[in-house]
Symmetry: C2
């Protein structure tokens, strides 16, 4: 199809014109994406449903089950193909019903508190004097043995308040963007696999210790000031639920308790939390939906965002934002009736907050796995706990089909560029693909690696998975995982822009003559410092 024909078409199929080189973008298609994304956007309606209507979406909670259903129906309603949920073993569901924590001595005061995820409720009201007993490793237990019976244990060291001298909300300046593009040499340390398992393990050991000592429960301090709460917890595995209730207190409330305790005022708490466990199905589900490819339909490009969240608020910037952007990119491309060479897949990942479980499950099932360690005890641990120590990478039959993956999970800031993750050859392609979006602020291709979310496991098996550079806004400073992560802190203009850029890159990647260049298959690296530390 020629450009002239495209200019008068409104809902017909796209293909890269023969005169456009492999790395160039069909700018007429971009015009139509821009029109659809800025003049007919539904991204905020999608975000509102995920946040205001459904709310916090802890994996395997009733809210997350509703999200799994609603997003599939949403994709089907918009004509996406092959809409499906892919399960993976996660563990128990957990949800909050109500909770209340009050100081009852030396004076009455309502405190700000949230139950820690996957801890049990209080079974009524529990009250007792607190004891300040900070513990962060098993060796700390000895200090408090014999002192905890009948007490509510303050397990955090109360750190000082911080003075907020930097703006909470900011955008990248051009200088800052330019300053973050350079290649970073990877570092490789020896990978030690702990037989103790993951981060839920200390929580369980501590629970066992506190229960044996006769403690009533525990409280920890929020890691942010300003009365913000989080409530993250990781004891979701079936058969590994603690016995004592644990609550997170606002930093200001926790510090006051600590000061009163140190001053000899014998502060006491009354705690109530009612929570539910949900064991009907131990599987969590990723949701996938496709726009089928035409000439190269065995290959696919993919955009993804995790759609689970914590539950201190409504999981808006983390990550209804990214979810809504991925869904909006799907809506835009489907509304334009694109017929890309390669299939375009939209993925909503589950269980991200507890360790990227959903995207790892996808990688392991569809892309590549890793050899077992050969130690039955270690090989029985959850996949992610030993993944990086296992070599070689063992490709699955579909390994080469995924030619590019784009992840979005850094809040509601607009896309300022993309992290090419050290892939110098892909970076050159991204430079071309981003050109139509320079004027929208998406200007930067960085060679720096980025981590922490669902493209990471693709990187570990050599699949080209990338994460966008987004304006930071107030994501890290006050919204990420907090009790104010609600719809009103989303930025509509930014989310519309992100959906437009994502749709444009997906179409470019789906239609390019050549697949995006890959890094060589990862093999076991030599440690950066072979002589240890």
């Amino acid at each position: 199809m020629r450009l002239a024909a495209l200019l008068s078409a409104t809902a017909i199929a796209f293909a890269v014109p023969a005169t456009v080189s492999a790395q160039e973008v069909d700018r007429v298609a971009v015009n139509r994406i821009i029109d659809q994304g800025f003049n007919h956007s539904e991204v905020m309606e999608t975000a509102a449903h995920l946040t205001d209507r459904i709310g916090g979406r802890i994996t395997n909670s009733p809210q997350m089950r509703e999200t799994e259903r609603w997003t599939q129906q949403w994709f089907r309603d918009r004509g996406l193909s092959n809409v499906r949920a892919e399960g993976f073993e996660f563990g128990r569901g957990w949800s909050m019903v109500r909770s209340d924590v009050r100081m009852i001595a030396p004076r009455p005061l309502e405190l700000r508190a949230i139950p820690v995820a996957w801890t049990p409720g209080t079974d009524g009201t529990v009250s007792g004097e607190v004891i300040l007993a900070p513990m962060s490793r098993v060796a700390d237990f000895d200090k408090y043995r014999g002192k905890l019976a009948g007490k509510i244990v303050m397990i955090s060291e109360p750190t000082d308040a911080e003075d907020p001298t930097s703006p909470q909300f900011r955008r990248w300046t051009d200088d800052e963007l330019a300053g973050r593009t350079g290649y970073n040499q990877p570092t490789h340390s020896h990978v030690n696999v702990s037989r103790d398992g993951g981060r839920d393990n200390f929580a369980l050991r501590m629970d066992e210790f506190l229960a044996a000592e006769g403690a009533l429960g525990w409280v920890r301090m929020s890691y942010r000031d300003g009365g913000l709460l989080h409530g993250a917890g990781y004891t979701h595995r079936t058969g590994a639920t603690p016995t004592l209730p644990g609550m997170e207190l606002a930093a200001e409330d926790y510090r006051r308790l600590a000061r009163l305790s140190r001053a000899g005022a014998a502060p006491a708490l009354e705690m109530m939390s009612e929570v539910r466990f949900h064991d009907e199905d131990v599987n969590a589900y990723n949701v996938l939906a496709d726009i089928p490819g035409t000439s190269r339909s065995g290959e696919y490009v993919m955009a993804g965002a995790h759609f689970d969240s914590w539950a201190a608020a409504d999981g808006a910037v983390d990550n209804a934002a990214g979810t809504a952007v991925v869904m909006e990119a799907a809506r835009i491309l489907k509304a334009l009736n694109v017929r890309p060479k390669r299939t375009i897949r939209f993925a909503l990942w589950n269980g991200e907050e507890q360790g990227l479980h959903g995207s790892l499950a996808y990688v392991d099932r569809h892309l590549a796995t890793r050899a077992p360690l050969g130690d039955p005890e270690l090989d029985a641990l959850p996949n992610g706990q030993t993944w990086r120590a296992r070599w070689p990478v063992q490709p699955r039959p579909g390994y080469s089909d995924l030619v590019a993956y784009f992840n979005i999970d850094n809040g509601s800031g607009r896309i300022r560029g993309i992290n090419a993750e050290g892939n110098v050859a892909a970076a050159a392609v991204f430079e071309e693909w981003l050109k139509p979006f320079y004027s929208l602020g998406a200007t930067t291709v960085s060679l720096r690696p980025s981590g922490g979310t669902d493209h990471v496991y693709m990187q570990t098996v050599g699949v080209p998975g990338f994460q966008f550079i987004q304006d930071p806004l107030d994501y890290g400073s006050r919204l990420h995982h907090t009790s104010i992560d609600s719809y009103d802190h989303l930025q509509p203009e930014d989310l519309r822009q992100a959906a437009v850029v994502l749709a444009g890159l997906l179409l470019a990647a789906a239609n390019s003559d050549e697949p995006l260049p890959r890094m060589p298959m990862p093999t076991q690296p030599r440690p950066t410092n072979p002589f240890g530390n």
Copy 2:
């Protein structure tokens, strides 16, 4: 006494050496103040008692009664003279016992809420659908007539979230300080006296309307984002208590309710608040304590801070900070056993948060009153509501005895200077008095007026009352009246500095040969724009 003798003395009387001019400060005395204030400070212990131990101190609440008692005993324990409580009619006491607000439809969610001061409790649990009915003046009522029965009324217009692009915590730069020293011409508009009375009046009219309509109660939106709450209310007059419970919701929670309401999701709330009214004594009490003067004991200098607060948290920066600084200055000067020419008085004002009631009562009783208007209805209104419209100023016998008043009520930031309130002659004296404290950061004498706290009524009768320039820190941005105004956000170094500077200025003012220059007695000003608007 000679300087040489002072150098070896540790707890003996001071007097200004004959060789020191009227406007110069005894720097040896300053050395001893610095030693006492930085090496033996008790300011943080005092602040901790007011905040952690007593907590929020709403006027006439049990917490404030305890504060009235404790501060008097504190002054007596440290040997202050003439320690006394001076009562003035304020109204009812009010305190919170517990409260809880939950959204029950379209999904269950715990909200962040605080009862509005001086509204009644819910008498159990109240639940009902909300209705968005913003009202800020009586004319708004007609819009909602017939629509409110059985509803919980959302009385605020839900404004958008703001992006926090400025640092919350900051100190004045030298440039900023220099930029705020200039004289501002006063502006005078026609003073209209409302027969409706003060800001409690709309609250009462609205309560009457909502009750007549059969509403169950009302909620308003916090005026700060980030989950912060305030709870200020003004219906404290005896016989003027509303009948419906009112709660303040976190902005994020309120906006979510408003969005759900507009989206047709019929959100409903369950509200519970248990509060107490305290009518044993309608008087509130200022606390006063003296270090008696020697040669000019009929005259006095005074430092003051209000010691009441709101109760969303512990009233730390507003104004346990200023209270502790005034008390610490008293402790320092008493510890040095100063024997000043003039009496030094320390004043803790009550009822400041509801309209500077305590300091106005002091002015009216001891310094000057104003002529009645001659309209019996208007003259029956609370003093502050008509004060500025009444002329002439009528001095009391003690009018000339108060030669300088220093107020501190802008958080825990260190003293960077003083607002001379347009008093050019006093400014020249302050320049001299501050010189020993330049190296501590107190460098600036500003001619600008400052308002909003307890020196204001002194200014209205021509008594030289001044407020310090303090570093703003995060007072206005996140602490002032909020649910995180607790001890951990106080700045110990700043409070020690403030106590040292205040003690130094008090001693200089008490010992100066001449009283601080005054402005002429205020007489009724001509309106700045005589032709109206």
